[in-house]
């Protein structure tokens, strides 16, 4: 027994490169990863025999850079936000993805046309449209918040607020809450005055903010009553509300839409399997299937028609999607170019602000 133990331990170090038939996919954990496991991972393994190892991260974009630059890549596929996909690609940290390997829609439309606008880039293939929304626990809020401005109004709705610990989305929401129309948010953030204004708005609730980092945290904070309102990824709130019966409501006003895209880090140990996985996971049916596990919109036009009910067989998914008509009334589409360029800079200022 002991001998085998020693042997296993000694071998485990080298085993990594040796086992061929697997693919390591890094995603955001919780309900989101679960939807990907069910819709992509299990059928993929069943069809190809390639084992999928799911790894959780707060934001998979950051380990990629660390791994590639340190010359120690273990991830094959990562699920990242749009601006990060662009930025990482710019920096030469990603493998290019050949769009021709992506399967066409069932009616024969080529993938290039079937995907939503911007969903395919040199290094990335989108799988979902998601959004950052504000949500609240109906048990703990007196009255009904209806706008993003209410999130910043601690007089009308007293209590703690949960916010993602990053400049992205936070600054936009602050400006929208301050009365800036969605269309002008990024123009304003280009200027120092605009950034100052966003931070000034955040200052008004700074003492009431509890910061979260992982997507699974906000539903937990809301459920525990640690915060009365929180920003969150819309799918997490949907799952907590529908699957776990939590009394959560989403306020779509001021939501920020974004893609999540699959990328392959440069030097991925199982690159071929990674490409196979991406092609498999982003076909019309898989994307539609994923939407039955969590309320994120598929990135292919042809998947839209196939989206039906939640896995409980009762809940229609369409009204819960961030792309539904009601949800889009006052919505902002994340400006990936802005964040690809300004992320470092604004986060630096954000950090300085946080610790003051």
């Amino acid at each position: 027994m002991k001998k085998t133990l020693i042997l296993t331990t000694a071998l485990a170090g080298f085993a990594f490169a040796a086992t061929a038939q697997e693919v390591n996919v890094m995603s955001w954990g919780g309900a989101y990863t679960k939807s990907q496991v069910e819709a992509y991972g299990k059928p993929f393994t069943a069809e190809t025999g390639i084992k999928v190892n799911w790894i959780d991260a707060d934001n998979p974009a950051t380990p990629i850079k660390a791994q590639v630059e340190a010359g120690n890549v273990t991830i094959d596929v990562a699920d990242v936000e749009y601006s990060d996909a662009i930025r990482l690609c710019d920096e030469g940290l990603l493998e290019e993805i050949d769009h021709s390997m992506l399967p066409p829609a069932p009616d024969g439309t080529p993938a290039e046309e079937d995907f939503l606008e911007g969903a395919l880039t040199d290094c990335a293939v989108a799988n979902i449209v998601w959004s950052t929304v504000m949500a609240y626990n109906t048990d703990n809020v007196n009255g009904q918040p209806t706008s993003i401005a209410d999130f910043f109004d601690t007089e009308k709705f007293p209590g703690k607020r949960g916010l993602r610990k990053s400049a992205k989305a936070t600054l936009e929401m602050a400006l929208m809450a301050d009365g800036v129309p969605a269309g002008e948010v990024y123009d304003m953030l280009e200027t120092k005055e605009g950034v100052d204004r966003a931070f000034a708005k955040l200052d008004t609730i700074k003492d009431d903010i509890i910061w979260w980092e992982a997507g699974a945290q906000p539903p937990q904070l809301l459920a525990d009553g640690e915060v009365v309102m929180s920003t969150a990824y819309n799918g997490r709130i949907f799952n907590a509300a529908v699957a776990e019966g939590q009394p959560f409501e989403i306020v779509w006003d001021g939501q920020i839409l974004d893609y999540d895209l699959f990328v392959v880090p440069k030097g991925a140990p199982n690159k071929d399997n990674a490409m196979k996985f991406i092609a498999f996971a982003t076909d019309t049916q898989r994307l539609a299937d994923q939407a039955s596990w969590i309320s994120y919109g598929p990135a292919r036009r042809s998947s839209g028609a196939l989206v039906g009910k939640y896995v409980d067989g009762k809940t229609e998914m369409a009204p819960h999607m961030p792309t539904s008509e009601a949800a889009l009334k006052n919505a902002l589409v994340n400006n990936f170019e802005f964040w690809a360029d300004r992320d470092t800079d604004l986060n630096e200022r954000f950090n300085a602000w946080l610790s003051n």
Partner: protein, 303 residues
């Protein structure tokens, strides 16, 4: 500590106030550790005592969180608990896997730290040891240097040398962190070590090896074992290095807890905490027994 008979009222009052203060501090020390135990048996997903719990109603308590711990990560947790269920548990349960990793890493790190540490402690406690102070300071430094700096340094070093994402890398790192504890406990034992015993053995014709194994070893063994336990606990509790250099399938118990605390702090985390409290109680008891035995042997303790 008893109050003398002639104590004034003021002194009396102070004396009892003092005892109350001490009692409160002891409470502060121990209450946070004990509080997790009953809460881990909460039937509700809350972190507080429910009314049912306070009334000691059995329905307020359950082992559901322990069950969740076991089944988390299993492929098919819901079927009947026969042999194949247990096989599934052994192979796939996330916490089981973390426990296995923790034990494997802890075991080898302890062996390495104890072997090298004891040897060095024997050298360090000799009067002839050159540059003793300097070397001792270097050997103890892994305990003093902020862990984030150690972890960062190892991250670059391991990425460069190919030790990243290997068990060997984590074992070496944990051994390094455990070594100061071994050095401290073993040298402490050797301070009280009567060198005339080894001289007696030598003068009676024993070889250095025989002297070491028959005389020195049995006497310093309690110190070595305490050092080993310290090293084990250090590894068993370490999370930062694992965060920086371990692969996804090398998650240890603290690493898994770290995720749990940050993301979904459910009473399941309290169940893990309870188990760890029980383990540390056992380790502490062992250490205490060893210490007393060692003191008795050396005639230092009243009993």
């Amino acid at each position: 500590m008893a109050l003398p008979k002639h104590a004034s009222t003021l002194e009396r009052v102070w004396h009892y106030t003092y005892l109350v203060i001490c009692a409160l501090i002891f409470l502060f020390l121990i209450a946070p550790i004990l509080i997790v135990i009953p809460l881990s048996f909460n039937a509700e997903p809350y972190f507080t005592f429910t009314e049912k719990m306070l009334k000691l109603d059995p329905t307020g308590y359950s082992t559901r969180w322990y069950d969740l711990l076991m089944t988390f990560g299993m492929i098919d947790p819901d079927r009947t608990r026969d042999a194949s269920w247990w096989a599934d548990f052994w192979a796939n349960s996330s916490w089981m896997r973390a426990a296995k990793n923790s034990v494997i890493i802890g075991f080898f790190a302890t062996i390495l730290a104890t072997a090298l540490g004891t040897l060095a402690a024997l050298g360090l406690s000799r009067a002839e040891m050159p540059a003793r102070r300097m070397i001792m300071a270097i050997l103890i430094s892994p305990m003093i240097v902020p862990i984030i700096i150690t972890a960062t340094g190892l991250f670059f070093f391991y990425s460069m040398s190919g030790l990243a994402n290997t068990y060997l890398g984590i074992i070496l790192a944990h051994a390094t962190l455990g070594i100061p504890f071994v050095i401290i406990t073993v040298t402490a034992t050797l301070v009280g070590f009567d060198q005339s015993l080894t001289r007696a053995a030598a003068s009676l014709g024993a070889s250095p090896q025989t002297t070491f194994f028959k005389i020195t070893m049995p006497l310093i063994l309690p110190g070595v074992i305490s050092g080993a336990l310290f090293a084990f606990v250090t590894s068993f509790d370490e999370v930062v290095v694992v965060l920086f250099v371990a692969a996804h399938d090398q998650q240890t118990i603290p690493r898994q807890m770290w995720n749990g605390i940050r993301e979904q702090i459910s009473p399941a985390i309290l169940a893990v905490a309870t188990i760890l409290v029980v383990i540390s109680t056992l380790l502490l008891t062992t250490i205490e027994l060893l210490r007393r035995r060692s003191e008795r042997l050396r005639g230092l303790s009243p009993g």
